[in-house]
Subunit: 590 residues, 2 copies
């Protein structure tokens, strides 16, 4: 198989705890041959999130999507992960524009972090997608740094002098998503689906246009890049309308207040909650800043159909009887700062949960969030609330197509080559298996990883190059972008596990002897007030180690001395506690 032409057949990886940083290949070729199209995925092939793909042709680069990813649990303290743009920075002058498929953070979220590296980037997107981009850029005070260009799914676009773009509408759980169809002068035609599913009865009433997709397919597509998120799930994606019927049923049976939690970006679900409320004579009050903002944006742009006065404030809601109120809120993932989480702890200022409340959690826990979600839910149950969640009833459906949707896309587009994208590697592997089961030849199913380069020549032949471009994780922590690396993370991991143990020695500058009792400070290691003996033992050990030394031994060899102390104290503490805190010897001269 093409993808495994590596030395020793050994994949490039590191220990999970040390993250997934790729070794940078020294030999990135300066430029593609003029009439070869290169597809370079910088993210989204080994994770859910940080989707970003480069198209390089002649002297030009077009970028599709610029997403972020939420950190894995080993990335302690990290806010977001964004793609590595080393390659782009090196070829700044080639960049002709960024095209966006839809407005979710895993496709647009890295823009504010990457933007400052480039001048006046041209960003192309549909109206709603750009509205979400604009909102985020305003937050960062960066609106003047871009050039936003709106297109609609029916438009044709030229980016640079080589990329001729068309689009087709796809269904997803945010409106206005498109697939990108790119033709280059050599004749290569590439289809990139973005996130999609097929829904014949979507909430926005605009199903994907099969005829148009088939007609593009009939033109001879060289390469399809298609969403793999649900490639392991059999069958078709459940239609939003089916979900709508279940939601309606809950509204039908509920006498008290309804608290409806979902993602603020899940516009179709928000529409369903508002529609069901209106039908059942309820007003909708919104709790949560991101939800308020999202609803405002989609109402302003006409993507949400709400009768006049359907949405009221939380304050107004308090004056209505319970059966006239729906509270639409964030927190479906158990996020600690969210409205629903605060309600579950009784800490929400305006909404106190009682046994007359019905809580609808219309979302599935994202892997890694399960415990937070169930913890929150348990507290809601303990207040006596009636809680509906995905395990009890189908009240959430993913925005990503399942196996039958994926097969349909492959059948309609009929590409020569197929490259699964958007997902962890096992999801891509499952998607590849689907294509092979449909008789795509093994060599035409291209299983890449981030940073690999796929090149298609004018004979429409594809090959994966040996060279790679940097494609590791760039971590965002507070104001810092990329300043937390493996060393800092490893320290956090060790301290998280067993805490830290600082040993401070003050020595006389002239004589080299200790001028005071060694001082010990520890955090996260053991409850110090009950550990006198242990601390005393450690101090004694330090003094004994120092006693034998003369001035020259000490001053000449601080690093060696520190290492001796670190080792001795580390061994002592492990023997006594079986814990391994970070031991930090500090020597000061006075």
């Amino acid at each position: 198989m093409l993808t495994f032409k590596r030395k020793n057949n050994k994949p490039q990886f590191t220990k999970r705890s040390l993250l997934n940083t790729k070794i940078i290949s020294p030999s990135i070729r300066a430029a593609a041959k003029n009439d070869n199209l290169r597809i370079i995925p910088l993210g989204g092939l080994e994770e859910v999130g940080k989707n970003m793909t480069l198209y390089e042709y002649g002297n030009e680069i077009m970028i599709v999507d610029m997403g972020l990813m939420f950190p894995t649990e080993s990335m302690l303290g990290i806010d977001y992960v964004i793609p590595d743009i080393t390659y782009l920075k090196k070829h700044k002058q080639k960049i002709k524009g960024l095209v966006l498929t839809h407005g979710h953070l895993d496709h647009i979220g890295a823009i504010p972090y990457i933007l400052p590296k480039f001048d006046k980037l041209k960003i192309y997107g549909t109206a709603l997608t750009l509205a979400f981009v604009k909102d985020r850029l305003e937050e960062f005070g960066m609106l003047d740094k871009v050039n936003l260009i709106t297109f609609s799914a029916e438009d044709k676009l030229k980016i640079g002098s080589n990329f001729n773009l068309e689009f087709f509408r796809v269904n997803h759980n945010i409106p206005d998503g498109v697939a990108v169809v790119t033709a280059v002068p050599s004749g290569v035609l590439v289809v990139q689906t973005g996130d999609f599913k097929f829904d014949h009865t979507p909430v926005d009433g605009r199903p994907a246009d099969m005829g148009r997709i088939a007609s593009i397919g009939s033109r001879g597509v060289s390469l399809l890049l298609s969403d793999s998120t649900n490639a392991e799930k059999p069958g078709h994606a459940i239609s939003e309308s089916q979900i709508g019927r279940n939601i309606d049923k809950i509204f039908d049976e509920t006498k008290g207040r309804i608290i409806f939690a979902t993602f603020s970006t899940l516009i179709s679900r928000i529409q369903q909650a508002i529609t069901a409320s209106t039908i059942h004579g309820r007003k909708v009050a919104i709790s949560g800043l991101s939800m308020e903002k999202a609803v405002r944006i989609v109402i302003d742009l006409g993507y949400l159909k709400t009768p006049r006065n359907a949405v009221i404030s939380l304050k107004q809601a308090r004056n209505l009887p319970d059966n006239k109120v729906t509270i639409l809120t964030t927190g479906s993932q158990g996020e600690e700062a969210s409205s629903l989480y605060r309600m579950s702890l009784g800490e929400h200022r305006e909404v106190k949960i009682t046994k007359n409340d019905t809580v609808v959690i219309s979302a599935t826990p994202i892997p890694g969030n399960e415990r937070a979600v169930y913890y929150m839910m348990d507290n809601l149950f303990k207040f006596g609330a009636n809680v509906y969640y995905d395990k009890l009833l189908d009240i959430h459906t993913s925005g990503h197509g399942r196996q039958e949707d994926l097969k349909l896309m492959l059948s309609l587009v009929k590409p020569k080559y197929f490259m699964p994208v958007h997902g962890e590697y096992h999801m891509l592997a499952a998607h590849a298996r689907i294509a092979r089961s449909m008789n795509w030849p093994e060599k035409n199913v291209l299983l890449l990883t981030n940073g690999r380069i796929l090149e298609i020549n004018k004979k429409l032949e594809a090959r994966i190059l040996r060279e790679t471009v940097p494609s590791g994780y760039v971590m965002v922590d507070g104001l810092g972008v990329g300043d937390v690396g493996n060393v800092v993370l490893r320290d956090r991991q060790v301290m998280a596990k067993d805490g830290m143990f600082v040993v401070i020695m003050v020595i006389d500058k002239r004589t080299g002897v200790l001028v005071a009792e060694p001082s010990i400070v520890s955090r996260g290691f053991i409850y110090v007030k009950e550990s006198d003996e242990l601390m005393g033992g450690a101090k004694k050990l330090v003094k004994r180690l120092m006693e034998g030394k003369n001035k020259s031994q000490i001053s000449a060899n601080w690093p060696i001395l520190k290492k001796q102390i670190r080792d001795a104290i580390g061994a002592y503490l492990f023997q006594k506690t079986e814990r391994r805190p970070v031991v930090l010897p500090v020597i000061m001269e006075a």
Copy 2:
């Protein structure tokens, strides 16, 4: 509903990050009324794991199960969580024995940690259950501290002078599991299922005896405590035999080596892997200490049917052709120290994964382990291995009954009162909903939390008392049991997020002035070598803060001075980085 008779209708909880420690009620009554039976769950009602229930009658206490729980992700560095036994320590002399339902860690794992508090505890269990207990106690060098008493499912037992026990066999994915039927002199009859499912075609050929359960049910059961782990899942548990057929299919189609990963305690699955290997002419080599031990125990006791020489060493396996070898291994949860995990990184000394290998992961990721499992799987895929896992094929079934199994148990036992146990609170709530749907009156479905007390009088009436017993989390970290509490954990959490920042000042004992440049040591905060400016700024800030002070201000008020430095440095660092490391000022006199 009975369970919510608390002041203010407010459940007792704390922030997730601060853990789930219960407030200890001051008024635990000295003893139950002589002829009231008290059921006191110390664990397993708000979590999966740490199952332990006390039965108190007259002056006697019987304990059912003594399990541990694996830590949640906020319990940084913790190895295990065990039940709080404050109440038991207070009533030591009453304890008449510990009865075990089966040999899994969530039911027996806390024994070595709790045992040292009691003299020569009598532990009752079936042969296999006690074999696993014995193995664990040997590891801890504690075999002399107990009195192990074997019973079989057909036996009757008397514990103390009040507890008359019978049992019935249940199906689970470890053999020799039983439900405990307890009668006390007042006439109260209690059935506690332990972990169970109904499997008409189990691997060990011993289905649960419906007739016997029904006959116990016909005697008038006052209370049923039943396993809620899968109460949210509709339908019946998939039979082990169905899983067996799918495993057989994989063996049938595989030409190369098979690496078969599952839990070392999942004896039925181990049996299936060995049976399938034997049928297909493969020898089984075992990798992983816990797997080796488990297989040895079950073979010794005759619970595993293996032809002679079916099991060989890894070394012997290397001399056989690939299609004659199965490697049975641990690591189905992506545990970092496990055999399969090391194989996935290419770090296993004896097994190197190639594209000729087929890996079967016969387990479902436990919530919280998903990312670790998929990370491991992705690396196996990158080696080119063919990986089968639960999402692709039913090759794992849980040992816990689903909704229809739970209904069957309720129908057979026909208890007056029903108390869901074994599960997170939402699972118990789902189980309660099932009972209510079967027309158990609301007041007879008793939704307790850990530490609550259920009392059944001789008129067979149950009520939940207002008093509670301590039932929080006791954490095991290395050699320490209970010495890591909320303070230490909170420090670990803060350091995990943003690291730590130690500021050391050496002052002249007589004058109170700084005798050296303040020293700064940080870990997990920022990459120091690239942060000269930030560190310089912090030092300057410290010096400026110290300058204004005279000797008496300093020496008299170290705590105040430290607080000033902590606040000022904290604010400075946050302004520059938006991170909040633990700031630790240390003042030393020289």
